[in-house]
Subunit: 467 residues, 2 copies
């Protein structure tokens, strides 16, 4: 720095240096910063100081190198659909928006895999795949990016059959905390060659590195698809049916629980006329004979558990309407209350513990002073509550927090987890020590080794040492 | 240390301190040390200075604490079936033999999971599971322990349908380099709560921690099982059939390639009369209708690719004879040459690259001066060569090494891996930088963070910094 230059704060220096190569794609307007300071959850907005729109892995690397040099925090941003405050810039700094990295780099039908940039959404990928007869099954709600889905170890309705992002990412390109670019693996379906870096970065929520490219497993579109809707007199008999189906080993592709309140919200929002009772949505994939077998077995199990009816929806229009309504549940809940905000929480327990966990949770749901809907990927032991709160009411937020805390403690006590698919973000940090015990220290050791300055998405995933 | 005590080397001090709580279960006899200095491979024996037989996680922790205090190396030992020198004590030190930790701690049929101590073998677990209608599918050759299988990310013949140890370990108990005990996860089928420690330790080959307990996924024994044997005029048409079957999405449970030389070795060793041509062994799992469909489709694909015949083996005795013969291939190769030793190597490539990889490799096999058999879990793109060498011949070892190096470089050039399931050990370290590039530095960072003294299985998985 020579005498003519005025003193620059680290942040100003970072912005100036990035501007030199990113031009107008680094933005500091209040509107852009505000938009990048929150996801779709109840968490308060925490704005970054600037937003960068990266177009390539190399640009991400250059941005990170500048931030690393000055020790300025970095928050990666994808579709903005986070539910646990992952994208809140708790310590300010630079938001790297990857949503414009939308190239599908390779589709390899012969290997049943594809490589995409981090900003590609699952919808975009599946549209691109139409001509190939292949599809990518992982489907969280919303227009999530595949990079964001990898970063949060997302899943969705198909996970009971196809697994989560953990099972379906073959390889990643990652920019490390010093700006170095690595590839975590080759494309072989299995390998014993060294540490599993792919799975270390999947679910690390931008705290160990920034995912810029993802290689994914693809699947053949099933020869036959069939759906069914099945209603029950109570949640318990619905859940018991699912537990039996899983224990029986029926390879259902999807099985979703919607409680009576969720069905009510869905009817209103999606203009449907479903019976407002606890309901299971099923989907079956396979050959015609295989699907027929699955449907028959499933119907017989649900009837044995007191189902009120079992309505098949074999044609594509009926199925699509059903799954579109299911995917819009978050927005249907939101619409139940003007100016309401959905506090969406999720837990996951071993399947044998699902009935006690849900039964106990229902008491809390019924006693709450605001609308709560329950919906879940129950085939995995995973379910969500949508607490529709008034975000300006401290009393409601406190009630929601207490209810959420009881739910998570209940799940962990049943050998389950604080989050099945939404991630830790800032919202579930306080449960990490309870869930993992001494292993939290091991996670912290990894974090300090890979990001010694603590600049990557600070304040997420891991509690500070003294918590 | 007071004046009466003679000076003790760190090693003597370690042995004395461990003896104080382990008694006769720490052994320094030449026979025990020799037996623990090698696996089942060509690698030269490298003896540890002492062997400890641990009975519990707590004992492993105490042993590690003593070794850590004095900076003495530790080599974990399971079934001794390693194929890449994993158990060679390259820097001496203490071998911890976990094979007596054989308790099955819990079987939970309702959750389709079980927790076992590290020394339990897959055969022992499956015997225990008989009454439950469940089984554990991962089946490397030999009497491997489940702890060792987790440590090497093992797989076997069922991986094409059920995945490898990567997909089938739910949680681990691990003793860290300082003796601390952690659990890597709860039993929920999916979780987004923090870094995936389970998969970090799976495949880390005892270099990041010592696995003492394993929680595994179980599966229902399929309602129907059927097998088939199919011969081909050449290896290429067999491989092309498999590629088509996988791309078609037929959920075969097993598909194994044995080349003509392997079949010859199998016939001799297992007293069978199989046609000595390139052969595929198939197994199909499912409902009666589902299996019939799979068999029919598979037969039609193999016939379309020039198969000479397709013989179903539906009854259990015929199937068991077939798979027993397959599992004994390593010993059948060994028996082809008095005093021969099998140099068993494995690579894995994307399935579309399997035909070129195997075709090119066959030229090397035919040109070799010793017997080589090829066998593979080809549904995953994974295959092995068994090079039956005279371990006292430097010329043969050099020829084998050169052939192995060409094979591995070929696989990596095709976006594959140096090892699909045997692991890196000491034998494949030299390919790690070629395969992973800069990511090797990331692995080294993790190793240094979790084992700063470098006492856990030194000389395995990662090349030294200057390689």
């Amino acid at each position: 720095m020579n005498a003519q230059q005025p003193f620059l704060s680290p942040l100003s220096a970072v912005i100036e240096e990035i501007q030199a190569f990113l031009g107008e794609r680094i933005v500091t307007s209040l509107a852009e910063r505000e938009q990048h300071g929150h996801g779709e959850s109840y968490h308060a907005t925490r704005m970054p100081d600037a937003v960068c729109y990266a177009h390539s892995t190399e640009e991400v690397s250059r941005i990170v190198k500048v931030c690393a040099h000055y020790g300025v925090p970095i928050v990666p941003f994808g579709g903005g659909t986070s539910l646990e405050g992952h994208v809140c810039a708790l310590k300010g700094g630079i938001c790297i928006d990857l949503s414009r990295m939308q190239r599908i780099l390779a589709v390899r039908p012969g290997d049943l895999d594809a490589t995409v940039e981090a900003g590609v959404t699952r919808q975009q990928l599946n549209t691109e795949l139409r001509a190939t007869g292949l599809f990518f099954p992982i489907d969280p709600g919303g227009e999530s990016t595949l990079g964001g889905m990898a970063a949060t170890r997302a899943s969705g309705t198909n996970a009971v059959r196809y697994g989560t992002m953990r099972e379906n990412v073959l390889s990643l390109t990652v920019v490390l905390a010093d700006g170095q670019i690595i590839k975590t693996a080759n494309r072989a379906r299995k390998s014993s060659a060294g540490y599993d870096l792919t799975r270390l970065f999947v679910g690390s929520e931008g705290t160990l590195g920034i995912i810029t490219e993802v290689t994914l497993r693809l699947y053949g579109i099933p020869e036959t698809t069939s759906a069914a809707v099945c209603t029950f007199p109570d949640v318990e008999s619905a859940v018991t049916s699912v537990v039996t189906i899983i224990q029986y080993g029926i390879p259902v592709a999807r099985v979703e629980l919607l409680d009576a309140r969720t069905i009510m919200a869905v009817n209103r929002y999606s203009k449907m006329t479903l019976d407002e009772r606890p309901t299971l949505f099923f989907e079956f994939h396979g050959s015609p004979a295989g699907v027929a077998e699955q449907v028959e077995l499933t119907q017989s199990i649900t009837e044995g558990n007191g189902a009120l009816n079992f309505v098949a929806a074999a044609d594509a229009d009926a199925r699509n309407a059903l799954w579109k309504a299911r995917h819009n549940v978050h927005y249907a809940m939101q619409a139940m209350r003007p100016n309401g905000r959905v506090w969406s929480t999720d837990v996951c327990v071993p399947i044998s513990q699902l009935t006690p966990c849900i039964t106990e949770t229902e008491k809390d749901v019924l006693a709450a002073s605001f609308f709560i809907a329950m919906v879940g990927h129950v085939g995995d032991g995973n379910f969500h509550l949508g607490l529709v709160v008034d975000p300006s009411s401290e009393a409601e937020l406190a009630e929601a927090e207490a209810l959420n805390e009881r739910l998570v403690r209940r799940a962990i006590a049943l050998d389950g987890t604080a989050t099945g698919e939404h991630g830790v973000g800032a919202g579930k940090i306080k449960f990490m020590t309870l869930e993992h015990g001494a292993a939290v220290n091991t996670m912290r050791t990894l974090k300090m080794a890979l990001d010694p300055q603590g600049i990557l998405n600070p304040g997420k995933v891991l509690p500070d040492a003294d918590v």
